[in-house]
């Protein structure tokens, strides 16, 4: 959890002579300065590639114009106003939330169930299952997108497979609902194993005796899972939920390469629309930056809500 709460319980180095209350203050000062020197390049780079551009993007979002001919808009919030009247933007927000609400919970539950199965000490061929389920993580997003695009082509494998059972071919990428379905299926394929690894790491920290005690008391496997295992996994659930939400709000590659946002804008993600606005046809950096800020605010707000809900039950 320390990834999110910044200062976790940590072993303080009280005994190794690095604290300023030791007599040889000069050396300490020097060591402390050396420490700052060591972390300086990393810190400066993060400021330059993350924080500074973030502020610049906000200023940019208040400007209008093409290319380098940018002026402050009148009113200043013009780009934001325009966003709220932009039907395509609303469509992409809707699409992103469909992915978020349907895909993330299904994926996290599947990941938890798979991790629980793999954590069973009596399971055979454990390494094989783990590798097979984890393997999709090795493939790039655009690579798997193109494999799925090929399999779900009109005359592709999936329709041939369905035809073998006498089913009618489906125009997978040509209809709004089926295009979104294929995209969600792709996300499940690529990310379930990734999240499973987090749950596996979490399960290894759980005392097995709590599970065995529950079984002794007559709880069945499902009850034990929901009442004993899941509550102990809460920090991992919170972490994976925040990561997945963050990732879904920034979804780009699949929308770009798998469905190409289509049909029309029916499966396009917010980041895909941002790219289109900023770098295609008539690039409009100011409008793109405003869109980026909506994504930024959504990421922050949803993470905040999740942290609140996740911590409340403690």
């Amino acid at each position: 959890m320390s990834a999110l709460t910044a200062t976790p319980k940590r072993a303080r180095r009280d005994s190794d002579g690095l604290r300023p209350d030791r007599p040889w203050l000069g050396t300490d000062r020097r060591h402390s300065l050396t420490g700052w020197g060591f972390l300086l390049p990393a810190a400066v780079l993060i400021v330059l590639v993350s924080f500074v551009p973030m502020i610049q993007a906000f200023i940019l979002s208040l400007q209008t114009g093409r290319g380098t001919q940018l002026d402050f808009a009148d009113p200043l919030w013009y780009n934001y106003q325009r966003l709220f009247g932009d039907e395509i933007f609303k469509q992409t927000v809707g699409n992103t939330f469909i992915y978020l609400i349907i895909q993330v919970p299904i994926m996290l539950i599947l990941a938890m169930v798979l991790a629980n199965l793999l954590n069973n000490p009596n399971l055979r061929f454990k390494a094989f299952w783990r590798t097979a389920i984890f393997l999709p993580c090795a493939v790039s997003l655009v690579s798997y997108s193109l494999v799925f695009r090929t399999m779900f082509a009109n005359d592709g494998f999936v329709n041939d497979f369905l035809a073998a059972f006498g089913a009618e071919p489906v125009n997978w990428l040509g209809e709004a609902d089926t295009a979104r379905f294929v995209l969600i299926l792709g996300l499940l394929w690529r990310w379930t194993g990734f999240n499973m690894i987090f749950f596996l790491a979490g399960l290894q920290n759980i005392d097995r005796s709590t599970i065995e005690a529950a079984r002794m008391d007559g709880a069945n496997a499902l009850q034990t899972f929901w009442r004993v295992t899941v509550p102990q996994l809460r920090p991992i659930i919170l972490l994976t939920a925040i990561m997945s939400t963050n990732g879904t709000l920034q979804l780009f590659d699949e929308s770009w390469a798998l469905t190409r946002g289509g049909p029309a804008y029916a499966s396009m993600s917010m980041s895909h629309y941002l790219y289109e606005v900023s770098f295609q046809r008539n690039p409009n950096f100011g409008y793109g930056a405003a869109l980026a800020y909506v994504i930024l605010v959504l990421v922050a707000v949803l993470a905040f809500i999740q942290l609140r809900v996740g911590d409340k039950r403690d």
Binding site: M1, A3, L4, A6, A11, R13, S15, G17, S32, G35, F38, L39, P41, A42, L45, I46, F51, P53, Q56, A57, L60, L114, L123, T131, I133, F134, L135, P136, C137, A138, V139, S140, L141, V142, S143, Y144, L146, V147, T150, M151, D160, I197, F198, A201, L249, Q250, F252, D253, W256, A257, M270, S271, Y275, F279, F285, L291, A292, I295, L296, V299
Partner: protein, 272 residues
């Protein structure tokens, strides 16, 4: 008798694992096998290896400069990994071994950067590199990902196990602080370096959006860009496309299979 019942009780679990494994592996099998088939056979759902591999190779190399894209992708992935390992490991070392309150505060601030979506920094980053005349350079592709809060955190967390006795002993021996880092810390933290290296290499190799934005001319492209360009034409040759996707995936799949443990430790390491 009881063992049979036990076996049966495990059956739904095995069934579920089996189904998910098939779902997991099938697209990869489909990709590999289709690389050896003609486009017509791919669409006819031929699921056994064919004899078209060399034809596909010839067509692919005629249509796209695969060697150049492979070269760019390797240069970007290796360059990012080497720089990120150096910058983030020495920072993690600095944060933990020379621990102080001020550094904790700074770490907290840097961690906030993890929550900034790339979308929000992409346009100003593009403008900045354009101003510096670095658009279309591999340097511009690499720089934004060489210092990441996640890697610093990973190194900081594992530095906790770095014994302070060694540090003191090394100082007594007259080693300066950088030598302690280079000659003692780096070899001791080999496992962390492997984990961090694997995730950085794979992320850099697979990255698509930023290279797509900053490499605006078509003469410099990465493997992920190459395969998307290949699929964008009016008629797609699916055999050739699947071969290209296979080539684009092989380096990361090989790294993954060889260093799976390290990869798993890398993605989960920072949470421990």
């Amino acid at each position: 008798m009881t063992s049979v019942i036990k076996r049966l009780r495990g059956l739904p679990g095995y069934l579920f694992l089996g189904i998910w494994t098939i779902f997991s592996l099938f697209p990869l099998y489909f990709m590999a096998v289709s690389a050896t088939n003609s486009s017509r056979d791919v669409l006819a759902s031929r699921l056994v290896p064919g004899a078209e591999l060399f034809t596909n190779v010839a067509k692919l190399f005629a249509a796209q400069d695969v060697a150049a894209a492979m070269g760019s992708s390797f240069a970007i992935a290796i360059g990012t990994t080497v720089l990120a390992l150096f910058i983030c490991s020495i920072a993690g070392f600095g944060f933990e071994v020379y621990h102080s309150k001020g550094k904790d505060v700074l770490m907290g601030v840097l961690l906030l950067a993890m929550m900034i979506p790339f979308a929000a920094t992409m346009i100003p980053l593009f403008q900045a590199f354009a101003k510096l005349g670095l658009v279309n350079s591999l340097f511009a592709v690499i720089v934004p990902s060489v210092s990441t809060p996640l890697l610093i955190l990973l190194f900081r967390q594992s530095s906790r196990s770095f014994p302070s006795e060694i540090l003191e002993a090394a100082r007594m021996d007259g080693l300066n602080e950088f030598s302690i880092f280079a000659r003692i810390y780096v070899p001791t933290m080999r496992a962390t370096f492997a984990a961090a290296g694997v995730i950085t290499f794979m992320t850099a190799w697979n990255n698509y959006l930023w290279p797509r934005v900053i490499l605006i001319k078509n003469d410099v492209q990465t493997m992920p860009m190459l395969i998307v360009n290949l699929s964008a034409g009016y008629v797609t040759d699916y055999g050739v496309l699947m071969l290209a996707v296979l080539l684009a995936s092989l380096p990361t799949v090989v790294v993954f299979l060889a260093l799976q443990r390290s990869f798993a430790n890398g993605v989960t390491g920072a949470i421990k």
